[in-house]
Symmetry: C2
Subunit: 110 residues, 2 copies
DNA sequence: TTATCATATGAACAATCGTTCATATGAGGT
DNA sequence: ACCTCATATGAACGATTGTTCATATGATAA
């Protein structure tokens, strides 16, 4: 029957799909990339590690705004930090970050 | 001087950075992936093309909610559609989509 | 200690977002 | 014409988000 084949098909797609929790985690990851301030920060850090005020100066934004966003990025484990005296240097946690950005770039430029 | 080297460094990072418009476009792309409903839809469509009501049934969500999200995905050029009688079938616009998702998946599973 | 510089953080605000509900459009079928 | 099924859409709602402002913490120097 037609209806049975339909249900069969839905079931098949369902079983291939990762569990809700995983997909939620995935969308959370992408939403971190979904803000231009954070993208700029990530890009800057992919060039070299930087202090908070340096990033703020580079992006012409408030130190507070940057600090808040660094918190988000740190929470998503995309960046790490290192303290040297008064200043804190931030850097990319791994190079998945850059490859995700590059993949997105590739999609845009077509 | 120390201060000149700092400005030099900032300038160098700036020149390497894509222009604001591009980064805004990039973050908009990622924010489309930044919602679990949309991720689920994209995943489903990466398995096979599907009608609106089929997606709604699969995700146990309202037809309206799905339709609104399909609009977002279509606007981001991640999906296309094909009409067959009364029903409209949606499918992935290209396979960048799947590779972006896979890249994200790779980051999560570590 | 006190002063200063670098960074972090909490509250408040406007703006954006995803869903729901009601309704509109559009394409058959009778 | 009418009815029905599939899809689209506008308004409204609560929820989340990014920035600002004010203030707190933390580290160094005097």
């Amino acid at each position: 029957m037609e209806h049975d084949k339909h249900k069969e098909m839905l079931k098949q797609v369902m079983t291939g799909m990762p569990k809700d929790e995983t997909l939620a985690e995935l969308s959370e990851l992408f939403s971190v990339f979904g803000d231009s301030t954070r993208i700029k920060i990530l890009w800057a850090l992919s060039e070299r590690e930087m202090s908070v005020c340096c990033i703020a100066e580079l992006l012409k934004m408030t130190q507070s705004a940057i600090s808040h966003q660094l918190k988000n990025l740190r929470h998503a484990k995309l960046i790490s930090s290192r303290r040297e005296g008064k200043t804190v240097y931030y850097f990319l946690a791994d190079d998945h970050v850059r490859s995700i950005i590059d993949q997105g770039m590739e999609h845009i430029s077509e």
